[in-house]
C-alpha cells in the first residue's frame, strides 16, 4: 500500500456560474494537505470531487492519481456530518467498512480504535446516546478503521474541546503517517500543527500559505508555530469570505 499523489485541476461550476478555478489542487503523495477557506467556498465540494461522489458542483477538468489508478477502494472519507447508523452500536459503526465489503472486521482493531478515541466502555452505546463530540469521534474511528492510502477529512475535529482535539490530532497524525491526507478545517492552529502543505481556498482560487520549518505534527506552543498562527489568523481575517459585513 503506497499512497498516491492526487491532482485535481479544472473549474468548478455551480449552475452556470464559476464557484472556483480554474485551479490545480495537488495533494503530495504520503503528505498532509490542509485546506482552509471561508464557509461556502467549495471545500467540501472539492473533497467529494476527489472521492468521486456526486456534487452539485460540476468539475470542468479532472482528477488524476499519480499511479494512474482510480479512486476505487482506497479512499477513506469522513464527511462534515457524522453519518453514523442509529441502529448500530459504536462498535458496529466503527466496523461498518469491512462489513460493507463483506470481509471479516478486525474486532480487536476496532476496539483499540474506540478506546483510542476515548470511548472505551461505550462500545455498546447507540449513536443516539452519545454527545456531539463523541459521535464525531466514532466517525473518526470508523474512518481510521478503513486504513486507506488516501484519507479525506472534512472538519473532523470541529465538535471537540481543545484537549480532546489535540489528542485526536495526535492520533490521526500517527495513524495516518505516510498517507495522502486532505484535511479541511477552520482552525488555523490545527492546520499549522498537521500540514505538510497549507492551502487557502478563497475568491475561487487556491493560495499556498507559509508553514514553519519543523515537520508535522508540530507542538502547538512552539514559538514559530505560534508566530505562524498569528500571521495566518490575520491573513484569514483579511480574506474576503462569503459572510457580508455584519449589518
Amino acid at each position: 500500500m503506497t499512497a498516491p499523489g492526487i491532482t485535481l485541476s479544472g473549474r468548478g461550476l455551480l449552475g452556470g456560474q464559476t464557484l472556483f478555478g480554474p485551479l490545480t489542487l495537488a495533494l503530495p503523495a504520503g503528505r498532509w494537505t490542509c485546506l482552509l477557506g471561508p464557509s461556502g467556498a467549495g471545500k467540501s465540494s472539492l473533497l467529494r470531487l476527489i472521492a468521486g461522489l456526486d456534487t452539485a458542483v460540476r468539475l470542468e477538468g479532472g482528477v488524476s492519481f499519480s499511479d494512474g489508478a482510480g479512486p476505487q477502494g482506497r479512499i477513506a472519507y469522513m464527511a462534515q456530518t457524522d453519518l453514523l447508523c442509529p441502529w448500530l452500536d459504536v462498535l458496529g459503526n466503527v466496523a461498518l467498512g469491512p462489513r460493507l465489503r463483506g470481509t471479516r472486521p478486525d474486532m480487536a482493531r476496532a476496539r483499540a480504535l474506540i478506546s483510542a478515541v476515548g470511548l472505551e466502555g461505550r462500545e455498546d452505546a447507540r449513536p443516539g446516546a452519545l454527545s456531539g463530540g463523541q459521535r464525531q469521534r466514532v466517525a473518526l474511528a470508523r474512518t481510521l478503521m478503513e486504513d486507506c492510502p488516501v484519507v479525506l477529512l472534512d472538519e473532523p475535529f470541529s465538535a471537540l474541546d481543545a484537549r480532546t482535539r489535540a489528542g485526536m490530532q495526535d492520533l490521526a497524525a500517527r495513524l495516518l503517517a505516510g498517507r495522502t491526507v486532505l484535511l479541511v478545517t477552520h482552525e488555523p492552529g490545527e492546520a499549522l500543527r498537521l500540514a505538510h502543505r497549507l492551502l487557502m481556498l478563497g475568491d475561487g482560487a487556491l493560495t499556498e500559505m507559509p508553514l514553519p520549518d519543523a515537520p508535522p505534527p508540530r507542538a502547538p506552543d512552539a514559538p514559530d508555530t505560534l508566530t505562524a498562527q498569528g500571521s495566518l489568523f490575520r491573513a484569514l481575517l483579511g480574506t474576503s469570505g462569503s459572510a457580508g459585513a455584519p449589518a
Binding site: G62, V63, S64, G70, Q72, G73
Partner: protein
C-alpha cells in the same frame, strides 16, 4: 490519468436522469403492458387452463374489440367512482391521520374502529350501505372511499408519529401551537409516508369501486364482470378485467407521478 468516479454502488435511486419525466414513465408502462401480456400468454401455454377459466390474450382482444362501446361505457362509470373515491378517501384518510396524531387517547379509541372498517366483509356491509345510500353512485363511491381511506390514514399516521424529536424540541422552545407544529413540521416531515399510503390507495381504489358495484349496480366494470362471469361469458369478463387492470395501472402511474413531489 483522469478517473471520473465510476459508481460502485447505485446512485441515489430517485436521482432524475436526462429524459423528461413523462417519457420516462410512459415507456415503462408500455414495457409493463407487454410484460403482463407475456405473463398471461405464458400462463396459458404452460399451465394450459381451460378457456372457461383463463382464456388466451387473443380471445380477450377479440372480445374487447367486439364489445368496445359496451366496455367503454361501463369503464367510464367505474373511472368516475375511482376518482371520486380516491379524492374523498385520501382526503378523509389524511384528515383522520392528522386528527389521530394529535392525541394518543384518540388513537387508542379510533384505531380499532379503523381496523373494524377494514375487517368487515362487503356482503355484511352491503345491506347497511344500500339502506343508507340507496343504489346510486353513492354506495360505490363509499366503498372506494372506505378502501382508499385506510392505507392512507395508516401510513400517514405512522409518518406523523415519527417526527424527528429534534424538531419537536425546537417547536417546544418556540412555544409553538400544536396545530401549527402539525402543519409546519409534522405534516411536511411525514409527506413521504403519505405518498407511500397514496401509492397503495391508488391500487386499491379501482378494486374498491368494483366491490362497490357488487353491492348493487347496473353500471360499471364490476357489474359487467359479475354479469359476464355469471353467464360464463369468460372472454367478455376478461376483456372487462383487462380494462380494469389498465385503469388501475393508469391510476397508480398518475398517483405515482403526483407523489414524486412529496418524497
Amino acid at each position: 490519468m483522469s478517473a471520473p468516479a465510476e459508481p460502485l454502488v447505485p446512485a441515489h435511486p430517485h436521482t432524475p436522469g436526462a429524459a423528461p419525466a413523462l417519457v420516462r414513465r410512459v415507456a415503462p408502462a408500455c414495457v409493463a403492458g407487454l410484460a403482463i401480456l407475456a405473463l398471461w400468454q405464458g400462463v396459458v401455454w404452460v399451465a394450459a387452463p381451460p378457456a372457461f377459466i383463463l382464456p388466451g390474450p387473443l380471445a380477450v382482444v377479440r372480445a374487447l374489440a367486439g364489445n368496445a362501446r359496451l366496455i367503454a361505457g361501463h369503464g367510464l362509470a367505474t373511472l368516475w367512482e375511482v376518482l371520486a373515491g380516491l379524492v374523498l378517501g385520501a382526503g378523509l384518510g389524511a384528515a383522520t391521520a392528522v386528527g389521530l396524531a394529535f392525541s394518543r387517547r384518540a388513537r387508542v379509541l379510533a384505531m380499532p374502529l379503523l381496523v373494524l372498517s377494514q375487517a368487515v366483509p362487503v356482503f355484511a356491509l352491503a345491506p347497511l350501505l344500500t339502506l343508507w345510500f340507496g343504489y346510486g353512485m353513492l354506495p360505490k363511491v363509499a366503498m372506494a372511499v372506505l378502501i382508499v381511506y385506510f392505507p392512507v390514514a395508516s401510513a400517514f399516521l405512522d409518518g406523523l408519529l415519527r417526527t424527528d424529536p429534534g424538531w419537536l424540541d425546537l417547536a417546544r422552545t418556540m412555544r409553538a401551537r400544536p396545530g401549527r407544529v402539525m402543519w409546519h413540521l409534522r405534516i411536511p416531515a411525514a409527506l413521504p409516508s403519505l405518498a407511500s399510503g397514496l401509492r397503495l390507495a391508488a391500487v386499491y381504489a379501482p378494486i374498491g369501486a368494483v366491490i362497490g358495484e357488487w353491492v348493487g349496480a347496473s353500471r360499471g366494470l364490476g357489474y359487467l364482470m359479475l354479469l359476464a362471469n355469471g353467464r360464463a361469458r369468460i372472454d367478455l369478463m376478461f376483456a372487462a378485467l383487462f380494462v380494469l387492470v389498465v385503469l388501475t395501472l393508469a391510476t397508480r402511474l398518475a398517483v405515482g407521478l403526483l407523489c414524486r413531489r412529496l418524497d
